[in-house]
């Protein structure tokens, strides 16, 4: 690991000033950053430890019924917050399907939004990677592409965003609050990430020194809470990143769908929402054919960059199944293995 200077600012203003310098990086939970530093994949010259900054670790219910989640709130604390899990059950399910209990106790909201891809070629410093070394090329293309993107990729990068948490956040219109050198601003999560294009090293709209301070979820999202699920296909039972995942939520009136949300994970460089699929479900009965049709719409533009064509049909099935699970209703208690396709209802046995 490259040597670095360690600084621990006392205020947000001090933190921004310290992190605006070239080579600086924020440290919060460290579960992704320190791993990347151990592998020499990222090499900051200064770590700005924000874990002691005041006011960033609260889960606040807003006057209008929405919720504001501080950037330093730990994944486990948010998932197990009773009020939050009641209002946003698909978010809690996504959180609990990610990583391990130890990592969820350390990982923070801000870090989750900013975590880097798990593309093996990004991690392997002997391989060409435009994300790690702009202009070097992409060894993933023509390589082992099983985990690669099927939407929004370019000939410069086919990596995926690994977050579970961000998938339902996107589906429910989350807004990111950012403090920067020129003050506070807000950006919808839908506009936060950038696609790789010709600059895969750029992953979001943050500028040097920018600090995520909170994410807000609007009150309207709670109206979906009776019918909201997260479903995640992994290569082992637990503690693995998604091959494909989906957050699905429905509102029902008189046996018909009156509103729908659908977002996919593991398919692109950012969490991927399909407003086309959502619109196609309005006024329809909650049936298998309707869900399959909506899921096909969501994947209409999908293309496989290599041997991962299986992910397209897999994503269609995961999206359809997530919608069907949402239609069946949010369980009163999450199943033992949150988001598992094999035991999706409480009491089902997985093994």
């Amino acid at each position: 690991m490259k040597d670095f200077a360690y600084v621990r600012p006392a205020t947000i203003a001090e933190a921004i000033a310290a992190a605006a310098a070239p080579g600086a990086a924020y440290l919060a939970g460290g579960t992704n950053l320190l791993d990347l530093m151990k592998g020499d994949i990222v090499r900051p010259s200064r770590l700005v430890d924000i874990t002691r900054l005041p006011g960033l670790d609260a889960i606040e219910t807003l006057a209008d019924g929405g919720v504001r989640i501080g950037a330093l709130v730990r994944n486990a604390d948010l998932a197990h917050d009773r009020d939050f899990a009641r209002g946003f059950p698909a978010v809690a399910e996504a959180l609990l399907s990610g990583a391990s209990p130890q990592l969820r106790n350390a990982a923070t909201l801000g870090g989750n939004l900013l975590q880097r891809t798990r593309c093996a070629y990004f991690y392997d410093t002997a391989s060409a990677c435009n994300k790690r070394d702009p202009g070097a090329g992409c060894a993933a293309i023509g390589g082992e592409t099983r985990l690669a993107a099927i939407l929004g990729w370019s000939e410069h990068c086919i990596a995926t965003h690994p977050s579970d948490f961000c998938v339902p956040l996107l589906a429910f219109d989350a807004v990111v609050e950012i403090a920067g050198t020129s003050g506070l601003r807000e950006i919808p999560l839908a506009d936060f990430y950038t696609l790789p294009g010709e600059t895969p090293q750029r992953e979001n709209v943050l500028e040097a020194g920018d600090l995520i301070v909170a994410v807000r979820l609007p009150a309207e999202a709670t109206a979906f809470s009776p019918h909201a699920r997260y479903l995640k296909i992994r290569e082992r039972t637990s503690y693995a990143f998604a091959l494909v995942s989906a957050a699905a939520a429905l509102r029902m009136e008189n046996g018909k769908i009156s509103a729908a949300r659908l977002a996919l994970g593991g398919v692109a460089a950012k969490p991927w929402r399909s407003r086309g699929a959502e619109a196609a479900l309005i006024g329809k009965p909650p049936g298998r054919a309707e869900f399959r049709h909506a899921a096909e719409l969501a994947l209409r533009d999908a293309k496989n960059p290599g041997e991962n064509g299986v992910k397209i049909e897999l994503a269609i099935r995961v999206a359809s199944r997530a919608l069907a699970l949402a239609a069946a209703g949010t369980p009163a208690r999450l199943p033992a293995l949150p988001a598992s396709p094999f035991a999706a209802r409480p009491g089902d046995l997985h093994v």
Partner: protein, 164 residues
């Protein structure tokens, strides 16, 4: 440069002068404080062998920067037994053969203690297995580990009954 660092490890305040900011909590424990019960397996947050409690919560000490742990209370496997009496989780691991080679065992036990404190699983074996999924055992002693954790959970719910 030298970073002064004070933290409480197993109830004892330890003052350390860190000569390198790159030191992880795991290496601080093992190399500077001679607490080698906490194991280094993958060193990348994937195996759980380095699990300790930080302010009462289980974490991977290989992915915790020591400098960032200033003021924290750390509990390691060495601090679990009290006055020569094993912690109920330790006793249950022995009673149920919850290990073979033993390398992952300190991490398994600390993770199980963390799972207890979280209070999310009850005595549901599926939830216990999922709750212990951050700890790998290359010997495959999972049956014994799950039985041990369940036994300890039952003991905590109804203290005084002997281990099976």
């Amino acid at each position: 440069m030298s970073l002064p660092l004070s933290l409480t490890v197993n109830g004892v305040v330890r003052d350390v002068a860190l000569d390198d900011p790159r030191v992880m909590l795991l290496d601080l424990l093992r190399e500077r404080l001679d607490l080698t019960g906490t194991k280094k397996g993958c060193d990348r947050g994937q195996c759980g062998a380095c699990t300790v409690l930080l302010d009462g919560r289980r974490i991977n000490s290989c992915l915790a920067l020591a400098a960032s742990c200033a003021g924290a209370e750390i509990l390691t496997i060495e601090g679990l037994a009290q006055g020569g009496v094993l912690h109920p989780v330790q006793a249950a691991f022995i009673a149920h053969d919850g290990f073979q080679c033993g390398f992952c065992t300190p991490g398994q036990i600390m993770s199980a203690v963390g799972l207890f404190l979280e209070g999310q699983t009850g005595d549901d074996p599926e939830r216990v297995r999922e709750g212990m999924s951050g700890n790998l055992c290359r010997c495959g002693a999972y049956d014994g580990i799950t039985a041990a954790v369940l036994e300890a959970l039952r003991q905590a719910a109804a203290p005084g009954q002997a281990a099976a």
